[in-house]
Amino acid sequence: MSQWGSVSSLVKDVQTRKRTAKELVQQSLKTIKVNEDYKAIIATTEERALKRADEIDRQIAQGEDAGRLAGVPFIAKDNFLAFGADTTAASNILKGFDTPYQATAIERLEAEGAICVAKANLDAFAHGSSTENSDFFATHNPHDKTRVPGGSSGGSAAAVVLDMAPFALGTDTGGSIRLPAAFCGAVGYKPTYGLVSRYGVIAMASSTDVIGPLTRSVEDAALVLDVMAGKDEFDSTTIERGKEGYTDLAGNLKGKKIGLIKEYFDGLDEDVKKVIDAATIKLKKAGAEVVEVSMPSLPLALAVYYIICPAEVSSNLSRYDGQRFGFSAKDVKDIDESYKKSRSQGFGSEAKRRIMIGAYVLSSGYYDAYYKRAQTVRTKLINEFKEAFSNVDFLLGPTAPSTAFKIGQNTDDPLKMYLTDIMTVAVNLVGVPAISVPAGEISGLPVGLQLIAPQKKDRELLEMADKTEELLK
């Protein structure tokens, strides 16, 4: 049982002066310290966090409105630009980068009184599915230290499950929130593309990157989303928030039509299948209608993703050239050598691998064969999802094909590692919202159930997930 309780109850405690923001921050920092050996955290923002806690407590003492998240500590994946510690994206090339501005998501949370206490580990630049690609250290799974927490938001997921803070922020480009949530037993929410501003978050693949919460409950995820969601003048791909907002979840499972994604069950690990099947039965009993849905292009999603994503990665990582910020190689004779050495020494091997793949698929003569074709298939996928949603309200499947694997198990085989994302990437290519909720365990390791909704149906999805979570408890 968590030491925190729900986020809304914490806020109530702080606002009624039952507990102070300072106590919460100290409790959070203490839990981080106690669980240091899981290596979920890159740095704490202790000094600033305590100062902010004092400020919140002062506001409350003076009867001011301290916000809807007053005094609630949270942990941000270290690809969010936030004050109080360096922003590294777990990469050597950004080591020592002291940001002059904060991400919109952080600003919005702070404006409602939340307090960032630490920066969580990730696969460097969010490239990975296990958090082993961090240039600094690998994070351990809270349920089994010999296993990975999933990635790339592995630090955030582990931190939440280890009770280091009531919630954490992650980014999801191909499954990076949902997968670690599934591996660690947290709730991981991937909003509709554009619902949360990407401004101030280190870009991985701009056309699929989204920002979302990792929490212990759907209710918490909904509250955090509600604070972050909506148009941002600094990100022109953002969309208006839903009129009803995302809190006070109601809804009913009765009469909801859920489509089981056939392609995700073909050849699925038997144990994972059992957990998902059991959950499906409960949903049916609760009154949902469950049908099978097939999207023939789905098996191509991973291939499409690993063309489009590296293409955008290679472009987005161009700015890390050693000239204006971050790591810069010494002893160079000219600008070309400075570029080459700074990037060769500053980037880890996964970043280099993706830069090379991306540069290749965008180069003249290959663009049409790879990038353009991938975009064509992407459009096809979008249409197949639309078609599926014309028949069902939600789609359902496992979040990952297996439970958390051993540290080091897949590090020599990038392709095998990429396959971990097979059930999550399509959602990013299509831009629809999805959530992973804990559905059960296999030998003490959590299994995640993934629910997917049409674009902008974030509220409906959260309501559905809220009910599902209740059923699976």
Binding site: G200, S236, S315, S364
Partner: protein, 489 residues
Amino acid sequence: MKYIPSIGIECHVQLNTHTKLFAAVGNDARNAEPNTLISPICLGLPGTLPVLNQAAVDKAARFAFAVNSRPEKHSIFERKHYFYPDLPKGYQITQLSQPIVKGGHVEIDPPAGGGGQTKIVRLNRVQLEEDAGKNTHPDGKDYSLVDLNRAGTPLLEIVSEPDIESAEQAKAYVRELYLLVRYSDVGDADLYHGNMRFDVNVSVSKDPNKLGTRTETKNLNSFKSVEKAVEYEIKRQTELLENGKKIVQETRGWDDAKQKTFAQRGKEEAHDYRYMPEPDIPPVELSEDYIKDVEASMPVLPRQWRERLESLKLNPDHIETLLEAEVEDERFSYLPLIEESIKDKEHAKFLANYFVNIEIPMRRGGKVDEDLKDAVRAEIYAEVYELLKSGKLSSTSAKSLLTSLLGQAAKPENIEKFAQEQGYIQVSDEGEIAKIVEEVLGENPQAAADVKAGELKAIGFLVGQVMKKSLGKANPELAQRLIKKQLDI
């Protein structure tokens, strides 16, 4: 058989928006200290995203109409990748596959007095893109300096088809572009500060249906250098071909001191820019209503002014001077004043003549009072014109009077009185002029004899002498009549 040159020109114009193309940062870097007009976005810091400046879209849409096209309803931005210290993100945000303006054309008039037909230069496209910063390499130092003030400044790149056939046409084309940019208020087009830069693609061929191998001479920043670079390239390429040699497709630079182009980069060294759609900026969608509004807001353009003034039969050079002057200083306008009086052709011509010969040179020399309002100028010209028409002013003293009036912001209450006091009013007193005529005839017996012998040309000389002696105040018609009278012819 002669070699036929084909010239295409790419022109980069900085837009005079208040802020940059993708960041809310000041855009006019002309007098700014290095790296003062920057933000996290201009620096390409991690996490930053571009947000398109609507004002730049508005300007591009206006320019579409200036070049006889219409803005596209759907256009997209793309990334062009290369590493250079003045390019913070490692890519330039530009347009490639679906630019904001497609097609269009620019009309250039035949050279003054040369006859011939209006030349149509077709445009391939006009695209929006961001400028890069500026690198400087201090002499004798082992480092370079980067100023990112200009990084992210909105540019229009105007790409012509290879329709231009001579250096003279090339110059006329870029000058016309300059006027279009100024008239549509798209940019300041301050050539001295590099607000407008040109790349010229030149090839020559004997076959009018087949283009030869081209060279691209980059970064020309004046009309003159465009003309000279094209002229040089045509000559260089023609000579190479005549000597049985081949043209190498390459990028060339322009050495202004030597007035020569020089090789910079071969085709094989060309970058692969790895273009891709810009995922951070949604496509630009323009509605029909928006496009119509832009069209309705277009000002009178140079070609329309030329048509409107056609009936005055002005000297073509004068029209061009007026067109240029009109956009040199927004405090002073000329063409609307001329147009207002176009029903009175003589008055309109008088204005054009005095603008070109008196006021514009004066204003360029900083001698026209800056506080002089257009309405006051209109009154001054109207009154001076009346005095001139009624014979109270000679054209010489009209010029002097105007010079004096334009140099002061306040208009005298009564210009005629002022002219009287200042001694500008023409002497039409027969007795006074007769006296001067007598003197002049006495001093120039040969000319007087010539006139008497029927050589009437000499009479102009004598009138001139009378004008000189009267310090320009004599009524020349009266002077001529009196000369004839005194010589009994």
